[in-house]
């Protein structure tokens, strides 16, 4: 009896690990969203589209300029982040004095435009981005199950990035300015800190994080215009569960929900897509501010 359970668990392990890979993306994306929301009070609906842009820029860098994966990891976030800064400066900044819902609607419109343009250019079926061969070094084998090294790398990088971002926000001077400006922007401005510029850069940073996740995703999910839309709504649910302004909450919840999805995939695969939303409903009933949120 114990043997059967252990045997089943051993077979289930690969799927759970794959869930962790998904969780890495949830964490990275909700991190970006949480940062933007915390600072700007704007729900960046175009986060998924910017994630997709990151993947496409990586593809374009490779196929049009011959710049490979490592170059893309640095360049794509910079390029897409710059694009984000332009959006913030020209459009989003006008909406700060208005109801926050307008920010949601504006970024929703941006998402449609971005997705539409890429769909027109590239069709919707997906372009292949080859997995860089370097990662074969990280290949893992447990018994019959083989985990390609690239997916191990994704989880590691996501953890490091999330941890690093959290450290910057919580433990550095710039991070403290950011946190202060979130709570009392006028006061911080009075101290001579350029708050509008900080907001612009924060948006750019959040977008860059999304694009970074996009580059990571390119070899796994193949590059197609709908890839952001598939993720973004689940990520919204993750952010609601974790607590909207909480950085740590976003990261922890992201990884956790990836794991939960992986486990659900083993026992009841049809429900794995909905389980995140069910959890969200439960959290809303019991702890409306989110698991890590401050009401």
């Amino acid at each position: 009896m114990i043997e059967t359970i252990l045997f089943e668990l051993e077979l289930a392990l690969p799927q759970v690990v794959l869930g962790l890979v998904n969780g890495a993306f949830y964490a990275l994306l909700s991190l970006g969203l949480a940062i933007i929301f915390g600072m700007l009070n704007v729900i960046n609906f175009s986060h998924g589209a910017q994630f997709m842009m990151g993947a496409f820029v990586a593809w374009m860098l490779l196929n049009w300029l011959g710049i490979g994966y490592w170059g893309a990891l640095v360049l794509a976030p910079l390029l897409v982040g710059a694009f984000g800064i332009v959006i913030e400066k020209t459009m989003i900044s006008r909406l700060y004095k208005l109801d926050h819902l307008y920010g949601l609607l504006l970024t929703f419109g941006c998402a449609l435009v971005i997705e539409g343009v890429f769909r027109n250019e590239f069709g919707s079926s997906g372009l292949r981005y080859a997995t860089p061969p370097e990662f074969k070094l990280l290949d893992l084998e447990f018994g019959d199950f083989f985990l390609p090294g690239y997916r191990v790398w994704v989880v590691m990088v996501a953890l490091v990035t999330c941890l690093g971002t959290w450290l910057v926000i919580e433990k550095t001077k710039i991070g403290s300015y950011l946190r202060a400006a979130t709570e009392k922007p006028q006061l911080v401005q009075a101290f001579g800190i350029n708050v509008p510029r900080m907001m612009t850069l924060t948006y750019g940073a959040g977008v860059a994080l999304a694009a970074f996740a996009g580059v990571l995703a390119a070899p796994i999910y193949s590059v197609h215009p709908g890839m952001g839309a598939n993720f973004i709504i689940t990520v919204f649910a993750v952010v609601v569960i974790g607590g909207m302004g909480s950085i740590l909450g976003a990261v922890v919840t992201g990884f956790m929900l990836g794991l939960v999805q992986g486990v659900t995939d083993v026992f009841w695969s049809e429900a794995s897509a909905t389980v995140v939303f069910v959890i969200m409903a439960i959290v809303l009933l019991t702890r409306p501010a989110g698991l890590f949120g401050r009401a």
Binding site: P14, Q15, G123, R128, Y221
Partner: protein, 417 residues
């Protein structure tokens, strides 16, 4: 009103709404030119089935119109195309408008079985002609058979028997399916399961993958591996199959030879996208291969450069052959009669044997099933291939009489003429 930024943006917003004024579809009676046949090619122009159908099908149709010589009889033919985006609601809206407003007489191609079935009903209701080349579901000549429809090229039963049969003969008795969750996937899984069971095999399980939109099959492949099945049947097509095979290779699913992958529907365009390194040894069934014989090579030559730089797929060849044959019927019965009743036109097509460079000699059965031989291919190893698009070696042929489901086994309830 001062010309400030806000006014400019407002003006732009209003200007962008102006096309809406021109968009109201007016119901002016179209002067139906009595001698014009209108063909509508409906398929996936931007998604995962674009390469095997798409604008290439339209090109094939235009060649067929040209080669049919119908112009010499004073008949004009107009060909239009549209993208159904693999969505039944989009497809049915397009066809509805095509027939009600634009005077389309024939709808051609329509891959993606869910759309194909929706169009099937619409065309039947309005008594037009439906020449389906792209869809796979054998229901088109089974429970959904229609006197206005001819199902060309291939279907799920044919694939199950040919590819499925080959895998079972090679020792694959236990199966697990990864199925695209729509009409085609279900039909293919069903027909193959029936076939496997009839040969003494067993089905260990199946997992449904959301369609379209799934690009990561790793979790489904893991489930398949967990079942310890000898054969993982890929009941999907196009981009889904490519991703499944690629990821199976990435996850070393077939390592050790204990598990085999059965690509139940694979097109030459898929093999091209995969590359021989990954696809070698794959066993598949098609009814047309550009390099099969002199006639197919000649047709490929005449088709010329295809959109996307591909060689013609069997779906595109089917568009060519079906329209060619339709034009024969039009020439035979006259334009007015052909336009007046789709059932009459299709009945005339069934009465005449077919002959073309794509499929050779063939016939059309009473239930709308086009009959022609089916070929079992194996993908060459890189060393065996002389270059791009030289991908297949022929393993065997099933003749037209045995390639498709016997008419008595389908659930078609059409009165037999």
């Amino acid at each position: 009103m001062s010309l400030d930024r806000r006014t400019l943006i407002k003006g732009a917003a209003v200007a962008s709404l102006l096309p809406a004024l021109g968009a109201a579809p007016f119901r002016s009676a179209r002067a139906q030119a009595a001698n014009t046949i209108r063909i509508g090619v409906l398929n996936d122009q931007s998604g995962l089935y674009r390469d095997l159908s798409g604008p290439g099908s339209t090109q094939a149709v235009r060649l067929a119109v040209q080669e049919s010589g119908i112009a010499q009889r004073g008949v004009t033919v107009e060909v239009v195309q549209a993208d159904h985006q693999n969505r039944p609601d989009v497809g049915s809206t397009v066809v509805r408008q095509w027939i009600d407003r634009d005077g389309i007489d024939v709808v051609v191609d329509v891959p993606t079985s869910s759309v194909a079935l929706a169009v099937n009903t619409l065309v039947r209701e309005r008594n037009k002609v439906y020449l389906n080349s792209g869809a796979a579901t054998s229901d088109l000549t089974g429970s959904a058979c229609s006197p206005n429809t001819i199902h060309w090229t291939y279907d799920t039963w044919m694939l199950a028997q040919s590819t499925g049969g080959a895998m079972v003969r090679a020792g694959g008795k236990s199966w697990f399916f990864i199925t695209a969750d729509y009409a085609f996937g279900h039909a293919l899984e069903r027909d193959t399961s029936n076939f496997v069971r009839s040969q003494g095999g067993e089905i260990l399980g199946a997992v449904r993958t959301p369609f379209p939109g799934t690009t990561d099959f790793s979790s489904f492949l893991q489930q398949a591996q967990r079942s310890r099945a000898q054969v993982i049947g890929l009941a999907n097509a196009g981009g889904d199959t490519i991703n499944s095979i690629k990821q199976a290779s990435e996850f070393r699913i077939t390592r050790g030879g204990r598990t085999k992958l059965a690509g139940l529907l694979v097109f030459v365009t898929d093999v091209h996208a995969l590359g021989l390194e990954v696809a070698q040894g794959l066993v598949l069934s098609e009814t047309f291969y550009w390099d099969l014989n002199d006639k197919t090579r000649a047709l490929t030559q005449r088709l010329g450069a295809m959109p996307g730089g591909v060689r013609p797929s069997m779906v595109q060849a089917g568009c060519y052959a079906s329209v060619l044959h339709y034009m024969k019927a039009v020439g035979d019965m006259g334009v007015a009669a052909a336009k007046a009743s789709g059932i009459e036109a299709v009945t005339r097509m069934k009465a005449m044997p077919t002959s073309d460079d794509a499929f050779g000699e063939g016939t059309i059965r009473a239930d709308g099933r086009k009959l022609h031989p089916c070929y079992l291919f194996e993908v060459k190893q890189p060393s065996e291939s002389s270059g791009a698009w030289d991908y297949y070696k022929l393993l065997g042929t099933t003749d037209a009489a045995n390639a498709f489901r016997p008419i008595t086994d389908g659930a078609c309830t059409m009165p037999r003429a």
